[in-house]
């Protein structure tokens, strides 16, 4: 009885994971279609309702930027208008593609990160995006007098590096999380076998395997110990086998603040920050060059950083949502000892695969996050 119920539960969780994957695939699909059939058929995805409104707002703000930069040339107070619009633009703009929302969110889910860390990652990557934009335009256009094509080519190189880093990040997560999943699967199986033996007494053939895993979880008391047993073991494995810089996935209560600040603390997210934040926002580059042409480069720099601040707020909000959803999933999962943990491991693996997939799609051009025009 008990085994049957748990299997059904696992199936439902698996279903939920599949739903997530399908929804994400659907989200990425339109651009993939656009790429696959260059002629005629594809059109911009339906943008009505909230999405349409967001797009309209960000277009509206973006177009207002040019007027404000011009006005700031003669009227100092227009500068503050520029700052305000840049901030609003950043907030709405980040709701569009790019800016690593999906990558950061998946990373947070896969790596069992806290919402605080999610917010820090979002702000750091947005800041890095602004810095890259300013550095590119500052060096290329201001110092070297480079053309738009040269800047575009530079951005493309950075883009490739950034996407490759995302793939690597995902691959590393997949490796670590995949092993965690297999290990939990093992434990759950041996636990189930223990139950099977107790309930039905016809699982004699499982005896050998069961003995092999005796050290993981005493099978007789497995039922009584439930999750606690599973957790402590997963935790031990972590310290035995994993890199120092990966959170223990068996950890039920999230990392303690001391852990975050400890060795491998904040710098652990650095790879994610760099992977996501390296590629500058095209809009920022265009605004910077435009400001430069108006003789107001510094106003453009200010605008870029404020835009980054707005972007960070949106990305952080979405990242927080992802962390909250994961926490909720964990609460549900923790009600079913072994299978619940297994489901969480499965979700982490799925999220790691998503990070890889996003990187791969971006790298191969099947998913296009930004284009600079016609160069």
């Amino acid at each position: 009885m008990k085994c049957g119920a748990e299997a059904a539960f696992a199936r439902r969780i698996a279903l939920a994971v599949i739903i997530i994957a399908v929804a994400l695939a659907a989200g990425a699909a339109p651009s993939a279609f656009a790429q696959a059939t260059p002629f005629g058929a594809p059109r911009p995805p339906e943008a009505t309702g909230l999405t349409g409104w967001i797009l309209a707002q960000q277009s509206h703000f973006y177009r207002a930027l040019s007027g404000l930069v011009r006005a700031a040339k003669t009227d100092g107070s227009a500068f503050w208008g520029l700052i305000g619009i840049s901030f609003s633009y950043g907030i709405f703009h980040a709701a569009g593609p790019g800016h690593g929302k999906a990558v950061i969110s998946s990373y947070l889910v896969a790596n069992e990160e806290t919402w605080r860390r999610g917010i820090v990652l979002s702000f750091a990557s947005a800041l890095l995006q602004a810095v890259t934009a300013v550095v590119i335009v500052g060096i290329a256009a201001v110092l070297l007098g480079a053309t738009a094509k040269m800047m575009g080519d530079t951005v493309r190189v950075i883009e490739i590096v950034s996407y490759a880093l995302i793939v690597l990040l995902g691959a590393r997560l997949f490796w670590v999380k995949g092993r965690g999943f297999l290990r939990t699967l093992h434990e759950v199986r041996s636990e189930a076998e223990a139950h099977g033996r107790a309930d039905h007494d016809h699982h004699a053939h499982a005896h050998d395997r069961k003995v092999a895993h005796r050290n993981h979880c005493g099978h007789d008391d497995a039922h009584a110990r439930g999750l606690a047993c599973d957790h402590s073991h997963a935790h031990d494995h972590h310290h035995d086998e994993e890199d120092e810089d990966v959170l223990p996935w068996g950890h039920a209560h999230g990392p303690e603040p001391e852990e975050l600040a400890g060795p491998g603390g904040w710098h652990r997210g650095l790879s994610a920050i760099v992977a996501v934040g390296l590629r500058p926002c095209s809009g920022a580059i265009i605004v910077l060059v435009f400001a430069l042409a108006q003789g107001l480069f510094l106003a453009g720099v200010a605008s870029t950083f404020v835009m980054g601040l707005g972007t960070a707020i949106t990305v952080a909000a979405i990242a927080t949502l992802a962390v909250a959803a994961r926490a909720a999933a964990k609460r549900v999962a923790s009600r079913r000892a072994g299978y619940g943990t297994l489901a969480m491991r499965g979700i982490e693996v799925g999220a790691a695969v998503l990070v890889m997939a996003f990187g791969g799609l971006l790298l191969t051009g099947y998913m296009v996050s930004e284009r600079m025009g016609m160069f």
Binding site: I13, A23, P97, A146, A329, M374
Partner: protein, 217 residues
Amino acid sequence: MLYHFVLLMTVLACGLAVNERAQAHPHVWVTMAEELLYAPDGSVTGVRNAWTFDDMFSAYATQGLPQKTKGQFTRDELQSLAKVNVESLKEYAYFTYARIDGKRHRDAFTDPIDYYLDYDPKETVLTLHFTLPFKTPVKAKDLQVEIYDPEFFIDFGFAEKDPVRLVGAPTPCTFSMQKPNDGNFPSSLRLDQAFQTSEANAGMGANFANKISVTCP
């Protein structure tokens, strides 16, 4: 409880998905004036495009280009940029799609000719002129030309004044324009409702962005 879980995860997934789906965020705005060129025998030989870019993109595009007079660019000074533009546009099929007597044509155009860039020093905007000749001149009762960026990084819109002209067309020919209507900004987001339907249905009642339809009885 399980349903809550499924619900939450679905919300999370949709959140991510919507954000990747909302891929349209243009950085370039183009105001276009289109001319359909007719041969004496009444066939359409090509499409002449005049695309004016927004001021920010124009500033970006002209960054670093040598100029004799500050604030001005001659056609010669812009010619290398024009070349880069039309060559890059090839990858995107010039964002120009033709449908002849209801049938979509792949690669209907040859490489562009007569291309150049103009700079308007007053508005500080660039206009890209280029002509797309049809591979074979089109003699059709019904010709449709659509111009849009499927990925919407470029927001195309018709010019307010003389957006479409038929040059040398036989008198009975008439044209109509379909703008992305409905008044919602950005206008080009009006969609092809037939995106998911079959090719056969694609032309029926579809609400295409920036479509020019010419009918010659």
